[in-house]
Symmetry: C2
């Protein structure tokens, strides 16, 4: 397997955690997003979307972090990253998608660049935008996991899964503009629990070979 990766990409961070939880390793190629490596013809031939991550396995190039993680879960069953019952799977996927659809893409580098270049937003405007969408998502995330009997040590039960894999990088990301996490105590507790696990620690941006 080969992973096209960037230390500071939250979406790539998710795939790194999933690989670690599965005990899988991948060759790595680093696509430096701030230097626009993602816009070279070479990388666009790998992923026409010009985003990371991309994973090459058995000759197939896979993109989109959630699709990649479900693929890893379907091809390497242990430990499972989704529960077995359809309604439980839907709960975990929905939590993951609150982050992966409704927070992260709105706060992604390319969007922040557009706000700055096209709409003339300064650092203060960007910070307000950035934290607004995280807070909106975390409020809903917290409401769904607090006082829910399916929440355990992790978002769903007592083993880490797809929801935790999406939550963890988003919380790390929220530290960029020092978002106050006190309104989200359950989310914070789960983040702290994940923070003790090697699979999550090893995947952190500062622990990557391309960290600056």
């Amino acid at each position: 397997m080969k992973l096209y990766d960037f230390c500071r990409s939250s979406a790539a961070f998710r795939v790194r955690i999933a690989l670690n939880l599965k005990g899988l390793s991948a060759e790595r190629e680093f696509i430096h997003l701030r230097r626009n490596d993602q816009s070279t013809p070479e990388y666009l031939a790998v992923n026409p979307q010009g985003l990371v991550p991309a994973l090459v396995d058995e000759g197939e190039t896979l993109i989109q972090s959630l699709a990649i993680i479900e693929y890893l879960d379907e091809t390497h069953g242990e430990p499972p990253l989704l529960p077995g019952h359809p309604a439980d799977r839907a709960r975990v996927r929905a939590l993951a998608q609150i982050v992966a659809c409704d927070i992260h893409p709105i706060d992604n580098l390319r969007v922040l660049r557009y706000l700055s270049k096209e709409f003339g937003q300064d650092e203060k405007g960007i910070e307000r935008w950035f934290n607004h969408w995280i807070a909106e998502g975390f409020r809903a995330f917290e409401a769904l996991i607090a006082d829910n009997e399916q929440t355990g040590e992790f978002c769903h039960g007592d083993t880490p899964g797809l929801a935790d894999i999406c939550l963890y990088p988003q919380v790390v990301n929220s530290q960029r503009y020092s978002l106050d996490l006190s309104p989200y105590p359950t989310l914070k507790r789960i983040f702290d629990t994940c923070s003790k696990l090697p699979a999550f620690i090893k995947a952190r941006p500062e622990n990557q070979p391309d960290a600056e």
Copy 2:
């Protein structure tokens, strides 16, 4: 089953298509997003995220359109909305997520409202933003489906599935500011094919009981 729906929500539109393809029907409750029905305490108790759709089935409330559609596919197998092989499933999910993660949430009503109210963008700025993110996503989507042997009458093979379910409402949405579709001929061909199917036609905004 009960679907919390809004005629003009692209995410709800996806679930309507999936229900139609599966031959399932659901009781409907309409949450008028422009009148802020989604922010009432009653609806926030259903979906703390304050978005549509939400689906109630067998006492469980499910949110996030992709999670709901995968649930429907797992609980009502025929016709399948995802192929059988993991790499093929990843391809279809990635196409779906290009729309559901990287186009639609950035162009969603709540985001456009923020740009208008907080950043003072006028209709012209909103239009530029709206079409920019659709064009970015459609460019990648087209590159992935053009000249790909797995593309058939639909995005993957000759039966409609999850990728088509996400693509179709996004193309309808792109007509809001008359985006030129000529750079995306394969995408346009698949849209036209879907446009002839009752499952897609019946799900269109103008064919809903809450259409204005």
